[in-house]
Point group: C2
Chain length 210, copies 2
């Protein structure tokens, strides 16, 4: 089973690496990091580079697509190379998924038209411009299309996907293998629970980065 | 504030990328991926390369050390270049931390002598050979030394550390920024909750990889 994770400059690394860490443990899965041009792709803060080992054109019909997010997705929503790859890959995929603002790229490719979908909470409303219905849930499944919310939600999405692909036992073993028994020190991981001043700090940070 | 994440061949990517994603958002933090020799470092399954941008010798006194795990740590427990770097860095650090089997490298450097510490549950008992007391908790703090359990626990550890460094508000904003409101689809993330047959699947997988 081929799992394609397209990466790009200004990616959010954990969006990609969370699902990679889960799906690479599915028996017979081969996860491949690919890009329009192979080579190192820097995160939005420039502090880390993930390596794209192959070109999009070398893996046009993966079984599973995981499209990660990050500030770099803004440029991709106009990038015909990426959008054409995505449209073709989606026609042939068993699963087409995204994490965080990766859903905006799925949207720009026309994949979310008429579907419910999610994204990072700061970008959720932007899904509407692609004909999707924004839904504030951590993981939203619509047939073979699964969108996940911000960054860490990709881990939950991938575990759900691992269960669909390989069964509950394997997914549970993967969860135990990565010791995913979360104990966040605070209860501020969603806008439903975070205090208003905390929400404002994150909005201000985004405004500075944008 | 310099945060050093030493990487190496056969690393578990999420051990490094989880804490990176949190700590890179601490104001004024500069996270640097370093290695004995700079360049791409492949994960244990060969499916992903993270790029080490500098040599260990270029960052000898970081404020924070985060030592990730993976099968590659076995070789590092005998690697005098890495152990000497770690001993010197630890003498000057504000915080010395590890994720997963990264704690075995801290142990081999003599840093855990007489301390409680944790590691991936499959390797927890190995800590005793370095004079540490193995403790089955997700995050174990002993003064400036913090060890975290398997893979995903690095996210919880880093949020706790972000709060120590920058205060609770900043840590909560980081948690919201990465939308860390976990919803694992199963309750099998620790050996305390996973079924015995699930534990066996993970042990068998490790035996095959070793």
């Amino acid at each position: 089973m081929d799992v394609a994770i397209p990466i790009f400059d200004r990616i959010t690394a954990l969006d990609a690496v969370g699902p990679y860490e889960v799906l690479s443990r599915v028996p017979d899965a081969q996860v491949r990091f690919i890009a329009a041009e192979p080579g190192p792709k820097r995160t939005e803060n420039r502090m880390l580079a993930l390596h794209a080992d192959a070109a999009l054109s070398e893996l046009t019909e993966p079984d599973v697509i995981v499209f990660p997010g990050g500030y770099g997705t803004r440029a991709l929503t106009d990038d015909e190379t990426v959008l054409a790859w995505l449209r073709h890959a989606h026609e042939h995929s068993r699963w087409t998924t995204s994490v965080c603002t990766g859903s905006l790229v799925l949207g720009a490719a026309g994949i979310l038209e008429g579907l419910e979908a999610t994204s990072h909470w700061l970008s959720l409303d932007d899904l509407a411009r692609y004909g999707a219905t924004p839904v504030s849930r951590r993981v939203v499944r619509q047939g073979k299309v699964i969108t996940a919310a911000g960054v860490t939600s990709g881990i939950d999405m991938a575990l759900m996907l691992a269960a669909e692909i390989a069964g509950d036992e394997i997914a549970q073993a993967i969860q135990l293998g990565i010791e995913y028994d979360p104990e966040p020190p605070f209860d501020s991981g969603s806008i439903a629970t975070a205090a208003p001043e905390i929400v404002q700090i994150v909005k201000d940070r985004r405004a500075r980065l944008a």
